[in-house]
């Protein structure tokens, strides 16, 4: 528990200005930290801003407001050489293994690109490193000369993982790394990510809408709704006693693969759709769909408040009634 935070986001905001002149508040004040060697799961439905958080903390987007610090250093305001070092230490694994690999590059070009840019290995060492990386992710060295189209989805995702690992990162953002894969392949990639974490003491931000996988991989989970974190807690706690009405609805919407229990349990079905992040929100963003909304929820936005050790909830109902 006393491990220092490797990456921290503080009141991170990312707004996009649309052509119409309106502002889309993709991320609107998100704070979290991840301890070295741990995994934070970021869950939520499409459009809730989880991928934008991942991209912003890697410096791919400049935040509108707030700060990101990596190993204690502020990310925006780093010197050129510090920033270059960070692009090596912070890496990303993408969702779609089909569109995230250049079809005209061979596997060894793809995996070796980062090694060359950062000048980590040259000549024979470079080839040796690529061999090592491929075997680390469960591919063979013969694969090095092939092109992405010669591989299946699961194998491509392994190439994407080898590319991220090539530059010896300490922190990896996994943006829905398994959702484009078939069920029987998903578990292979999950097990690979977990064994790599153990072996290389990696820190992950694991972005997903699949709460089952997140529970399995992550020590801690943060639930996002419309650009804000509505609840965060250690994994077991969040799944055993979700407190925010949105988290509860989300959990009950995921079908359990057991017909008897699935039919017996209570389902909270949310009405309507997620509102647009373009609209101005004054109160709680979930108020319009919340089964327990109070008049106050429409007027004032709740803050994340600790409800028990390490368990934070942003909900007037929970925070005021305990």
């Amino acid at each position: 528990m006393t491990e220092p935070m490797i990456i921290e986001a503080e009141n991170l905001k990312k707004h996009f200005r649309l052509a119409s002149g309106a502002t889309l508040k993709a991320v609107d004040g998100v704070s979290f930290g991840i301890e070295r060697g741990h995994t934070l799961g970021l869950v939520g439905e499409s459009g809730c801003g989880k991928s934008t958080v991942g991209r912003t903390i890697l410096g791919m987007y400049e935040p509108t407001d707030g700060a990101v610090s990596f190993e204690g250093k502020k990310l925006f305001g780093m010197t050129r050489s510090e920033k270059r070092a960070f692009t090596r230490l912070g890496q990303m694994i993408f969702q779609d293994p089909y569109s995230s690999l250049d079809p005209r590059m061979t596997v060894s070009d793809i995996v070796g690109e980062g090694i060359d840019i950062h000048g980590i290995y040259k000549g024979k060492d470079r080839a040796e490193r690529i061999r090592e990386l491929l075997s680390l992710v469960g591919l063979a060295f013969e694969h090095a000369g092939r092109f992405p189209h010669e591989f299946s989805g699961g194998q491509r995702q392994r190439i994407g993982i080898a590319r991220a690992l090539a530059v010896e990162p300490s922190f990896i953002v996994c943006d829905e790394p398994i959702s484009a894969l078939d069920v029987s392949i998903q578990s292979q990639i999950v097990n690979l990510l977990m064994s790599l974490q153990e072996r290389l003491s990696l820190t992950y931000l694991f972005i997903s809408h699949d709460l089952g996988t997140v529970k399995y991989i992550c020590e801690r989970v943060a639930v996002m709704y419309l650009g804000v974190i509505v609840e965060t807690a250690p994994s077991d706690k969040l799944y055993d006693e979700p407190r925010h009405p949105y988290t509860r609805a989300l959990m009950s919407a995921i079908p359990i693969a057991d017909p008897v229990r699935e039919r017996a349990r209570e389902h909270v079905i949310l009405e309507g759709d997620v509102p647009s992040p373009i609209d101005e929100n004054i109160g709680c963003r979930f108020a319009g769909r919340c089964p327990r909304a109070l008049p106050k929820c429409e007027e004032e936005s709740p803050e994340l408040v600790a409800s028990s050790d390490g368990h934070y909830v942003a909900c007037w109902n929970v925070n005021e009634r305990g």
Binding site: V183, S187, N191, S235, A257
Partner: protein, 338 residues
């Protein structure tokens, strides 16, 4: 039996050879039941549904076997007769609501199209009222105002409701739903599954639900057919298949998903390798190369179908042959530990 598929085979000719997408499928669908077809991409589940609907032109595809609905052989019907059945007696819900609607047509006209094709005598006024009623039934608020809107004005969940309205407006006796919620978020998925369940009760139709999500199956299905490499490898009542998976593939499928109701740190079982190449289907069992319980016979001779105890619960696996009983008992003890 309402619908019967017998030894259905579908293959496609490509430059690389012939792909045997469906390799001898036998299935029964009873009136009013929900049958779930489960399997990975490329296992033939969508091709089977599209063949029932006769959406696969043959030639070029090679289709053999039989698809009977109420005793009528659908595969032998002339296209003109099939057009009367398609959309009227059999409705279909497609996976992707973003691409299965015409972006240039108002959604009201799109829903009405099928209705007026199948009932030429119906007046426009009557048809419009039917559309309003159906839009209400699928949970689209304020139907009259929505009638003139276009697909792009709706969210994913709402579009899927429009697609469902198109599929059910003629009150089909058989509803084929091909991954109806895969493109949707979980909370929207829960809404849509609830809707399909209500419509099934309301119309008394049979539903064939194609999915790869065992959770969705548990929520919806009366019976399950597990597809692998173009064949049904296990079928049975939903409870039986979940409680007593009798084909190693089914067990592996159930084990490989992290579950909300299980503890963390429990090792996640994997299925090594990948499904077989259907250009050159294996001689023996399709799952042989990936099977944790494989025996010598499995690689050489295709398995037969065996009863697994409960009525209608069958598995296409040599483990259930009487000579394999020690091996089967060993596997049955191990199957949930991965």
């Amino acid at each position: 039996m309402f619908v019967e598929l017998r030894d259905l085979r579908v293959s496609f000719k490509t430059y690389g050879g012939s792909v045997r997408a469906v390799r001898g499928v036998n299935l029964d669908i009873e009136r009013g039941e929900c049958l779930a077809i489960v399997g990975e991409s490329g296992c033939g589940k969508s091709v089977t549904a599209n063949t029932i609907m006769r959406l696969i032109p043959s030639p070029p595809a090679e289709i053999s076997g039989s698809v009977r609905m109420d005793g009528t052989e659908l595969l032998a019907l002339p296209e003109k007769r099939m057009k009367e059945i398609r959309g009227k007696s059999i409705g279909m819900i497609f996976q992707d609501p973003m691409t299965s609607l015409d972006p240039t047509m108002r959604i009201g006209s799109q829903i009405m199209e099928g209705l007026r094709i199948h009932d030429k005598k119906m007046s426009r006024h009557e048809a419009e009222n039917m559309v309003y009623e159906t839009l209400g039934m699928v949970g689209i608020p304020n139907p009259r105002a929505q009638f003139k809107r276009y697909a792009y004005e709706f969210s994913g969940g709402m579009r899927q409701r429009v697609v469902i309205a198109m599929a059910v407006i003629c009150k089909p006796r058989l509803l084929l739903a091909d991954e109806p919620t895969t493109a949707l978020d979980v909370t929207t998925q829960a809404q849509i599954l609830g809707l399909i369940r209500d419509l099934k009760t309301h119309l008394g139709s049979s539903v064939v639900l194609i999915t790869h999500d065992m959770g969705v199956v548990a929520n919806m299905a009366d019976r399950i057919a597990v597809f692998y490499a173009g064949q049904v490898v296990e079928e049975g009542a939903s409870e039986d298949v979940f409680r007593n998976p009798s084909h190693p593939y089914t067990a592996a499928l159930l084990n490989s998903r992290p579950r909300l109701d299980r503890d963390r740190k429990q090792k996640l079982a994997t299925i090594g390798g990948a499904p077989p190449d259907l250009f050159a289907p294996p001689q023996g069992c399709g799952f042989f190369e990936r099977c944790p319980a494989a025996m010598e016979v499995c690689g050489d001779i295709p398995p037969s179908r065996y009863d697994c105890g409960a009525p209608g619960h069958r598995s296409l696996c040599w483990l259930h042959h009487e000579f394999a009983s020690p091996r089967r008992d060993e596997w049955l003890r191990m199957r949930f530990s991965g």
